[in-house]
Structures are given as C-alpha cells and as structure tokens.
Amino acid sequence: MTAEIGHFALIVAAILALGQSILPMAGAARRHGALMSLGNTLATGQFVFVLIAFCALTWAFVASDFSVANVVQNSHSGKPLLYKITGVWGNHEGSMVLWCLILSLFGACVAWFGSNVSPGLRARAISVQGMIGLAFLAFVLLTSNPFDRVNPMPPDGRGLNPILQDPGLAFHPPLLYLGYVGFSVTFSFAIAALLEGRVDASWGRWVRPWALAAWSFLTLGIALGSWWAYYELGWGGFWFWDPVENASFMPWLVGTALLHSAIVAEKRDALKSWSILLAILTFSLSLLGTFLVRSGVLTSVHTFATDPERGLFILAILAVAIGGALLLYAWRAPTLKGGGLFRPVSREGALILNNLLMTVAALTVLFGTLYPLVVDALGLGKISVGPPYFNATFVPLMAPMILAMGVAPFLPWKRADLLGAFDRLKLIAGVAVALAAAVAFVEDRHSFAAALGLGLAAWLIGAAAWEIAGRIRLFRAPPGESLRRAAAMPRSALGMTVAHAAAGVVVAGITASGVWQTEVIRTMKPGDRADVAGYTIGFAGVREVRVGNYLARRGHFIVSEGGVAVDALWPEKRVYLPQRMPTTEAAIRTTLFADLYVVLGDPDGKGGHAVRLYHNPLVPWIWIGAVFMFLGGMISLTDRRHRVGAPRRSARPASARPSEA
C-alpha cells in the first residue's frame, strides 16, 4: 500500500509541477497577481508530494518491504537501520527521487523566502523551477519508477553494495545534490531575468545567497566524496580525475566563478550578462554530470547500472535545457545594458580574472572528460585521459589564480594601484617566497612542485590573515577596540576571508600529500616490523571476527615512535554476507599533520600477509580546509544584507527592456 501511495504522490507532484511551469509564467506575462502567487502554492505542493513519495520509499526500505523491486535489489533485512535509510539513495531510482525532492525543496524555498524578490521575476523563476521539476519527475515515472512491485515476493533482499555501507558515503549524495540542484535556482533566476529582459543590481543580490548556499554544499559534498574514496578504496589517494569526479568538479569551478561575478553584478551593476551566462553554464554542467553518471557512456568506478533508454531521456532534458537556455541568452542578452565602468586593475578586474581562469580551467577539465567519448565516437580507438593530463593543464591555470586571490581583497573597486597593494603585502610575499625557497632547498624530490604549492598556500593563508589583521587594526589599536572591530566586521567579508584562507589550507594539503607520500608494500608475518616515515609498525597478527552483517579478517598493528608504542591499528578485510562481497577497510592513525594508513592484503600462503603502509603528510588539511570553505560560505550567508531590507530595484529606463510577449 505504501508503495502505491508513493507512486501516486509522485504523479500528483508531476501534475502540480506542470501547473507550476505554466500558470505563474502566464501570470507574469499578463501581470496577473493571483496567478503569479499561485506559483508559490504549487511549488510548496510539489515539494510536499515529492516528500510523501520519498517518505513512502524510505518506509519501504526501513520496513524491508520485499514486494518492492527496488528494495529487493538494494536492501536486506539484516542491514543496520542507518544503511536501510541511506540505501534509499544508494541506487539509481531512489537517488533520482532524492534529486527531485531537493529540486522541489529549492523551488519551495524560493516561494517561502523570496518575498523580497520582485513578483514578476519570482513568478517566472518558480515557473522555470517547475519545468525542471516536471522533466525529472517524468524521468522517474517513465524510466526509473522506484515503486515497481515484484511477484512473487522473495524472502529477503540482495543487500546494499557493501562499499556504500559507510557513514561518509551515506551523506555524500544528499550534500552533493544540495549543491548540484541548488544551482537550479540560479539557473531559474537567469532564465527568468532573460524572459523579463531586465537585469539590474538587485538581480545579483537575489542570486548571490542561492549561489553561495549551493556552492557551500557542493564543496562539502565533493570533499566528503573524496574523503570516502581516501579511506574506503584503500589506495591512499583522494582524487583520481575520474570522469564522475570531474562531473561534480566542473559545476564547482563555474559555480565559483558565478559566486564572484554575482558580487560585481550586485555591487557595481556590471558583468550582468556574463553572470547570467555563468548561471546557465553552472546548472548545465550539473545536468551534464547527471547524464554522464547515469547514462553509462563513460567507464568509471562510480557509474550506476543503466539502460540506454534512461541515458536518452536525460540527454533530451539536457538538450532542451541547455540548448533552450543558450538560445534565449543569445536572443536576449544583447539587450541587457552594461553598468558601472572600471579600470582593468581594480577589484572588478581581479574578479574577472578569477572568472576567466575558473571557466578556462573548467573547459580544460570538460575537454579531458569528453575527449575519450569523441575519439571513440569517431572510431579512432579507445583511450582514457588520466591524471597527467589534468595535472598538466589544471595546475598552471590555478597558480596565477591563487596569486591573484591573495591580492584581490586589497584592491578597491573601480580603479586600483596594484603596486600599492603588493606593497601592503610585502611581508606576506616575503614569508611565502622564503618558505618556497626553504622547501626547494631542503627537499630534493619534486622540489619545484612542492615549493610552488606550499609557497602559494602560505601566500594565500598569510594574505587572508593580514587582511583580517588590517581590518581589526590588530596590535595597532587596543585589544578591546580590535575585538569590537572584529565583531562588527561584515559577515560576507569575514566569510570570504575564511574561505580564501581555507583554500590555501587545501592547497597545502594536496601539495604535501602528493609530493611527500611514503608508500611501503611488503609481506609481514606476525612479529615483523616495518619502518615508515619515522614510525615503526609491528604486525601482531590476524584474527577472524564476525560483526553484524559481515565477517572480517582483522589485522592488529602496533605503531611505535622512538621505541614507544603510541597506537594500535586494526585494518580489516571484510566479506559482507548476503552478497559474499569483499571490501577492504584501511586503518588510519591521524594527527593534524599526517596520516598513517595501513591496508591489510591477502595472505601469501606461507603465514604472511601482503600489507600496504602509507604515510600521507598534511592530508587531513584537505578536508579540514574544505570544511572551512563550507563554513566561510555559511558565515557569508548570514550577512544581514542577504536577509533583511528588500533590495530596491533601481529605476532602469524602460528602453532597456524589449517589448514583452
């Protein structure tokens, strides 16, 4: 019964989405207030019904209703409750319902919190949101119904893929979708503005919080995914430039550009047309990512099992959304008026440089991701584009970006004195160069990469600290005065500085772990010792344990430093029972500055075990930095200007608006 309720709720939601895509749009065209506000009700209704469907599906998983095919394929009665729940989105159908749920939630949020947006723009945005919702609900209902029944009902399910039975991965999809799908709102606002033919500074102000929220969640979602890959896949790496990783990274890059261009659109009434293009591109890349992951066109460790019908359906959505949006842009964008003027060397100029570098970087990633598809389609062979390509194109683009990131907050709007700004930062620049030189001098392996990466990281973190110190007049005013200034600092400025410094922390983590990773692969018999980066790791033995729904061979390793035992590590080789599927659980001893990472391999048949030991310096900084980037976004989001004071629409001359349909 619950399955039928869920299915029915999805159909109702699709019908509401149909109404949502037509009625407010018609209302906005005819300036009909009631029709426009009907969109808000419909958006709320769509959300409520998708929520009902989602709850029904969750209930089927929690209650182990094995008459539902999706539950049979992805759940098992003996699974812990947490993984019964997260199993809902651990498969194609269920994750699409989550996609729709988050999409409708964002639509409803525009309805709930958008009272400061002009009614016409909001109605059109909600309508576009409804169209996207309709497309994806139709996709779920027509190709991926999660409520299909099986007859006869099997006694138990096949279980969730064990590597998904993990807290890190359990929350990776919801966060990632909050980011991916969050950019649908900026897309809807962009389309709405193009339809209205009017973009002014307040457009930037409305779009910024949505872009900021989506960007923050996407950052956290990507970081969680890479953290999971790091500790669960047992390869000691955290980023593989896999096509599906790239699929989430491209919207992040362009979304970061959007985040910055929207500031210029708001503060200086410039770059509006460009911001609209970025808003379209960001969500287009989110859709492209969805297509790549679910169509099976790419070879990747992440893809869902798929059939061609689904791929075609998403391709059709992709073509209509991206093609339609870009056509509309080409038609309407030339009528948008440019705003404030500025010199190339200025805050605006620095933000444009950020935009150019971010989009060009996204372009190179896109090229590397799609190139194998093109080569294959042309019949020129089967290739894959690996990390060397991405490292060789991405890093040279990011280095000038980080240099500019340090100095940009010191540049005033309109016109700036670059030398003056560097003069204020000469102490930080000196420290960064000294650190780079020290690294290059001390370390002989890959010294250039390490010196560059750590020098840039120091520059970025130092410049951010210097900026805050300057703002609160640290050590130049009494401590009380500094504290008061710190408390009064605009949240958006504080958030920006935190996020920039956090990016520096991430750069340091990526550099150090990439350059200075130590790897030892050998067999160990009980009693053997291995030396890794100053630690001695003793192997005490292996025993068999049974925990919950898996059997494990659990290794016991004793970590000692200078002859003193400091820790014990218990890596495991597990076999999950329903599927008899093996997984590897690395054991990690983490300090703030390095990880010691132990993987237990197969027995060699002579009493020993293959063992992989890693020492990964600064690797925790990658995730610590990502969390602070997220927090920076959240701090910025609490800025009072994002919440209060309905932004006034500046009186644009009517000539800037093409005749309305």
Binding site: N161, T299, G368, Y389, T393, P396, L397, P582
Partner: protein, 149 residues
C-alpha cells in the same frame, strides 16, 4: 576590451597546455589480441583489458608481487603487478591493468582496476569482445570456453 584580450590569451595558453598534456596524458586501451598484433609501441603506457585467466594467478617470491594472465578469449598476456589487488579482482572476471609492456613480453602493471560491482565488465572490454564476436550476455562473470596463449 582588455578583458576580452586577456580571455583570448588565456584560452590560447589553455589550448597549448591541453595539446602538450594530451601527449602523455592519454592512454590507449588494448586487448591481448591487439597487443599480439603488434599494435602497441614498446615502452608506452597503455591500459590492458580482459578477463583474468582461470588458474593463472600466482604470488611471486617476494610475497607482494602477483602474476596472472589476462585473456580476451583469443590471446592472453602475462601480467606482473606489485601491490595489493583490488577486492573484486577474481579469476574469470574482467580487469583493467594500467602499465607498460616489457621487452620480455610481460605486461608490468602500475595499477589494477576492478569495478565495485560483482557483475563488472569494463565497458571498453565489453565493446571489444562484442567486436570480436566473443560476447555473451552473461559472459562478464564466466571464464572463456578455451583460451589460447
């Protein structure tokens, strides 16, 4: 205007980087038959795909190196890999090895991929097997009827 110029310059730089990086960033995919047909330049990194030949897996003297044969049901190729194999590495199942061909004719793998799915067949391999007429719908998990070396 300035920004248009900067943007175009950046695109130029990016294009140059892309072209330079494509030289060593791209790895080709071959099956053992293709390798046997001398389609592979010596010393070049490529991805070898096929099924792990049943009964071919051996642990070498150092205890951490593994030797096995990869077959596409027509030809097979010996592979040596030092490291811990992925969990889903099994005889008779699909595998992709990334590495180089040595002069002796052995493929030395730097990494081994086996997907996190019990029915995994790498897409590239499935396509190749279809091309060679060796594809069976359930063939992913089944060893070849007979494999010649």
């Amino acid at each position: 205007m300035t920004f248009l110029a900067v943007g175009l310059c950046l695109l130029g730089v990016a294009a140059a980087l892309v072209l330079a990086a494509l030289d060593d960033g791209v790895t080709f995919f071959y099956t053992p038959s293709k390798v046997a047909a001398n389609a592979v330049p010596a010393g070049q990194q490529f991805r070898l795909g096929g099924l792990v030949e049943t009964g071919s897996r051996k642990t070498l003297g150092d205890g951490v190196s593994v030797a096995f044969r990869v077959t596409d049901c027509i030809r097979s190729l010996p592979v040596v890999y030092k490291g811990v194999l992925p969990d889903l590495f099994r005889e008779g199942q699909g595998v992709v090895a990334i590495g180089r061909l040595e002069k002796s004719g052995t493929f030395r793998a730097d990494s081994i991929l086996a997907k996190h799915d019990e029915n995994y067949m790498p897409k590239d391999l499935a396509d190749q097997l279809k091309e060679q007429g060796q594809w069976h719908k359930d063939g992913g998990g089944k060893p070849c009827p007979e494999a010649k070396s």
